[in-house]
């Protein structure tokens, strides 16, 4: 029993050309997918936000400005690479790489289509959560390694936020896992005759919020809050390394959208269209919702961020988990449509009660 053969178990046996071809193929697919989707995401975000703000957004480079991300990438790659004098050079160098790797790893367990994924680990979801927590390391390496106080503040915020938001996020996922009985992403998609967004509305909401916070999307983009910390942890980055962080930011958003699609929106399943297209469409829709909230909401403060995690999302996630567990335990064989109604009611009540009882804590401290 070794690592490789173990991993080999997880892939479909009938892949033509055997197992290495499978790896090669999907590695390429993932990298291409991530890069293309990131460019698409940047385009969608800039155009979408532009339109929401009464502007056009980029529309000069290429048809409809479609080549704008390419132009930006080209520009940023050609820029001078500046490393501050006081920076911890090695850490400064490694940070973008370490931040980027886990994002690619996440896609290893995301099914693009039925069975079409790098490896269907039976701990898939746990793998995602575990791996995505590594990219935090990259962020605080960047913050520390830059030797800049803004960066350090951003990194500390990130550390605090990630540690807090991982908990409601995992709890929200467990709500789904209770229903599927498996951690494998493929099995989760298979189990979704009804998209889990309906069965687990509260879980979806919690996961969405926690995911936005974890990947620093507005309104939780405290780590790079440009009006406060200029650019947070990547203040001191330029050129290629900045491009990496930029890539990470959007790749993480895409990854989270893909995860949400897989877990809550029944992944690649859908009528009429080919499954991979469904997957991409759903991913883009989720991403668009992120853009939409980003264009609308002001940023929360760090203590409010933490309070939201601990005082609102955490109890809500526990309630969600509790309700789900009871449902699965007591009525294992009942149609999930009944849970849809019940859980939506639970979600509404939990949100209503939670919002009423939620107090963000102290703003001011005595100094």
């Amino acid at each position: 029993m070794n690592a490789v053969s173990y991993a080999a178990q997880a892939v479909p046996a009938d892949w033509p050309g055997g197992y290495w071809w499978h790896w090669l193929f999907y590695t390429v697919v993932i990298i291409v997918f991530v890069l293309v989707m990131v460019m698409g995401a940047i385009y969608i975000e800039r155009r979408g936000m532009g339109r929401m703000q009464l502007r056009y957004g980029p529309n000069r480079t290429g048809p409809f400005g479609l080549l704008q991300p390419v132009a930006d990438a080209l520009k940023v790659l050609l820029k001078e690479n500046i490393v501050p004098n006081v920076a911890d050079k090695i850490v400064h160098w490694l940070a973008p790489v370490i931040a980027f790797t886990p994002v690619l790893l996440i896609f290893a367990v995301i099914p693009f289509q039925n069975g079409a994924l790098l490896t269907d680990l039976n701990i898939g979801i746990l793998f995602i959560v575990a791996v995505s927590s590594i990219s935090t390391v990259g962020v605080f390496m960047a913050g520390w390694g830059s030797g800049n106080k803004y960066s350090l503040l951003g990194a500390m915020r990130n550390v605090a936020a990630v540690v807090s938001y991982e908990i409601p996020m995992v709890l929200a996922i467990i709500g789904v896992v209770i229903f599927t009985g498996s951690l494998s992403t493929g099995a989760i998609v298979d189990a979704q005759d009804i998209p889990f967004i309906l069965v687990q509305p509260l879980g979806f909401l919690i996961f969405f919020i926690a995911a936005s916070a974890e990947i620093n999307r507005s309104p939780f983009d405290l780590m790079e809050a440009d009006s406060e910390l200029t650019a947070g942890f990547h203040t001191e980055y330029s050129g290629m390394k900045f491009a990496m962080f930029y890539l990470v930011e959007y790749a993480e958003a895409i990854a989270m959208s893909a995860i949400i699609t897989t877990i809550f929106l029944s992944g690649w399943r859908g009528p009429w269209l080919p499954p991979w297209l469904w997957f991409i469409i759903k991913t883009i829709i989720v991403f668009f919702v992120m853009v939409w909230t980003r264009a609308t909401l002001p940023r929360v403060r760090i203590d409010q961020l933490m309070a939201l995690a601990w005082k609102f999302l955490f109890p809500a996630a526990v309630i969600n988990l509790f309700v789900s567990a009871i449902e699965v335990l007591v009525w294992p064989d009942i149609s999930q449509w009944i849970f849809v109604g019940v859980n939506i009611a639970v979600a509404v009540i939990a949100i209503g009660v939670g919002t009423k009882m939620f107090k963000p804590g102290w703003g001011k401290v005595a100094v």
Binding site: I349, G352, V353, K356, M357
Partner: protein, 668 residues
């Protein structure tokens, strides 16, 4: 046949109301909003419907039982603990009593608490919690759960007596009630523990069969039963722990109507009834039950004679009537115990349990009827208070004209309580008298005197309240209550409904229906005419029903003579019985006894001083001595400490190496 889920629902619906009211609704709704009331009433109403259904199901069921699957709660090692529901005749009866009375009280409270400053929120939240606890108490199938709910009803009682906690008297009464009942609860807990250590089970059904099988017996059973009865004394305000109940009238009147007349205070009776198959194997215990019951009945009735506060009159009456029920249980049980002792009662364990369970029919029937008319009386008193602003009967009078509905219902309740044919109280009381008569004549005579006293003080209350001239209501309220008027329909409607019940429920047992429901063999059919045949009915050759009815009528007449016609004035009687009157008026000095003698002298001066001495000399001496030795030793050893943790770590490492080497060399 009711589905078992609905049996759970009976208990859980009020809990749901509690959660909705207490945790959710408060966030959205003003605390004075009647929505809280609607939620509670809805939940309890549904529970009442299910209860009645359950009762019918139990009655029509050949086994008189609804099987409800257990829920496994904790399983630690061999210790398995289940949450279960026991739905037999007793539970079904109690469930109906609790839910129906509670429903009526909640409806009534909508009107009664309307002007209260505290609002509906807290009130209905507590009331829902109480109803849940009470239902849980009667439904629990093991003693541990009974105890949990027992304490919960105690808590609710505490909260509700102290509902107007800003009044010092209410706060004190709440504390008093809580502490006094706690005394009894120690007994209860001790009883449960004795039972558990002897049988390793809390399950009531198992305990019954163990008791019958003789596994559980002897002094352990006796002490356990006495312990349980101790709990019952506390909760049911029996002598000598009766002192809290009159003070508990500081709470809102609907609370008194629900908790302190119909349900919680009867929990003691219920507990004794529930464990009756154990009691019958312990003649000492059952005798104590009967004696205390009989004594309390007359003892409390005398105090009721002189109270001026209408609610206190009713409170003493409650104590007295519960004494009656205890007497009924005790007398019936005494008889069976005697039979078992003498070996007259033969049969398998199952049959003995059934007989023992059936023995509670007499007491329980009185509980059943009493619940309706006593809560009716309390609510009518509340209605009076609503109109006059006071509970002092000397400030009332003549309300008959302005409050006809209240008057009529109160009258029905009083007649029922006094045991006037053909109202409910007559039938239940008659049963108790008959049972006592056949088994314990002494107790029977106590009960007979009580009949007279009961009729007398109830009609004293009626005459003082409803007849004569109106004396102006609450003197402190500055003419606010100068003109009385009938209470709103939300208050009157429950009164009327309960009045109908107070008239009618007694007929259930006229033909022995209730007894057979409780497990007695069905008597030969008398038909409906039995209602009238009762006067010719004799027990051991004595026309008992007729005598008791006459005595009650004589009591009414006496009251009429004194308070309406004033042929004999109350004053002159008071003068005549001077010292006795004083003693009775001061409640036999029980409060003073507890306060001054037991607490101040017994506890504070005696016990606590002893503790203190022991603590100072014994414990401290030992501790200080030990410490001194250690200090001296430590002073010598501490030179080896550098305070550097890592040095210690090195030592540990060295030790580890040495141990490992030793193991390697010698261990293999």
């Amino acid at each position: 046949m009711i589905p078992y889920q609905l049996v759970w629902a009976i208990m859980l619906l009020p809990l749901g109301a509690f959660i909705v009211n207490g945790l959710i609704l408060r966030l959205f709704v003003n605390r004075k909003s009647p929505v809280y009331g609607y939620v509670t009433i809805g939940a309890i109403g549904l529970a009442a419907v299910f209860s009645v259904w359950a009762l019918i199901s139990v009655a029509t069921n050949s086994e008189h039982l609804i099987a409800v699957p257990d829920v496994n709660w904790i399983s630690i090692g061999t210790f398995n603990f289940h949450i279960g529901i026991m739905m037999d005749q007793l539970s079904a009866l109690m469930v109906v009593v609790v839910s129906v009375v509670s429903l009526m009280v909640q409806i009534y409270s909508l009107g009664y608490m309307h002007h209260d400053e505290a609002g509906y929120y807290r009130y209905y939240t507590f009331m829902s919690l109480f109803t849940f606890s009470m239902l849980g108490l009667v439904l629990a199938d093991n003693l541990l759960f009974t105890f949990v709910f027992w304490e919960m009803v105690g808590l609710c009682s505490y909260l509700l007596i102290g509902f107007w906690f800003h009044k010092p008297s209410a706060a004190n009464a709440a504390k008093k009630a809580f502490i006094v009942t706690r005394l009894g609860d120690f007994g209860f807990l001790a009883g449960i523990l004795i039972l558990y250590f002897n049988t390793h089970t809390f399950d009531i059904a198992q305990l019954h069969s163990l008791a019958v099988a003789g596994v559980l017996g002897g002094s352990a059973l006796t002490w356990a039963c006495i312990g349980l009865f101790g709990g019952a004394i506390g909760k049911s305000a029996q002598f000598p722990l009766h002192v809290w109940l009159p003070d508990a009238m500081e709470g809102p009147t609907p609370v008194s109507a629900l908790i302190h007349s119909a349900t919680m205070v009867c929990a003691g009776v219920f507990l004794v009834a529930r464990t009756m198959p154990m009691f019958v194997f312990s003649p000492e215990a059952i005798r104590i039950v009967a004696i205390i019951g009989g004594f309390t009945a007359i003892f409390a009735a005398t105090m009721g004679l002189v109270a001026n506060d209408i609610k206190r009159v009713l409170a003493y009456s409650t104590i007295s009537q519960i004494g009656y029920m205890m007497l009924g249980l005790g007398a019936a049980g005494w008889a069976i115990a005697a039979e078992i002792n003498s070996g007259a009662l033969m049969g398998s364990g199952e049959e003995i349990i059934i007989i023992a369970k059936a023995a509670v029919a007499v007491g329980m029937f009185h509980l059943f009827t009493h619940a309706f008319f006593k809560s009716l009386l309390f609510m009518a008193a509340g209605s009076v208070n609503h109109a006059t602003g006071t509970f002092d009967m000397r400030q009332m009078g003549g309300l008959r004209k302005t409050m006809p509905w209240t008057y009529v219902t109160f009258l029905i309740g009083s007649l029922s309580l006094a045991g006037i044919w053909p109202l409910a109280g007559f039938w239940s009381k008659d049963e108790i008298l008959a049972t006592a008569f056949t088994s314990q004549p002494v107790l029977f005579w106590l009960a007979m005197i009580t009949v007279f006293l009961t009729a007398f003080y109830m009609f004293r209350a009626i005459f003082m309240t409803f007849h004569g001239e109106y004396k102006g209501g609450d003197p402190a309220a500055d003419k606010k209550y100068a003109h009385t008027h009938e209470s709103p329909w939300v208050m009157v409607a429950p009164l009327v409904f309960l009045a109908l019940l107070a008239i009618g429920v007694g007929w259930w047992n006229v033909t022995g229906g209730f007894s057979s429901f409780m497990g007695h063999e069905a008597e030969a059919g008398h038909g409906f005419m039995a209602v009238f045949n009762i006067f010719t009915h004799t027990v051991n050759g004595v026309p008992l029903p007729l005598i008791s009815l006459l005595i009650a009528l004589f009591g009414i007449f006496a009251a009429y003579v004194i308070y309406i016609k004033k042929w004999i004035t109350a004053k002159s009687i008071g003068k005549f019985f001077g010292p006795v009157y004083d003693v009775v008026r001061d409640k036999y000095y029980f409060d003073e006894l507890y306060e001054n003698v037991i607490v101040k002298i017994g506890l504070m001066k005696g016990l606590f001083t002893g503790f203190k001495l022991f603590d100072e000399k014994g414990v401290d001496g030992a501790v200080n001595g030990t410490a001194a030795v250690v200090v001296r030793g430590g002073k010598a050893i501490r030179q080896a400490q550098t305070g550097q943790l890592q040095l210690y770590g090195i030592f540990i490492g060295i030790g580890l190496v040495i141990i490992t080497v030793c193991v390697l060399i010698w261990g293999m």
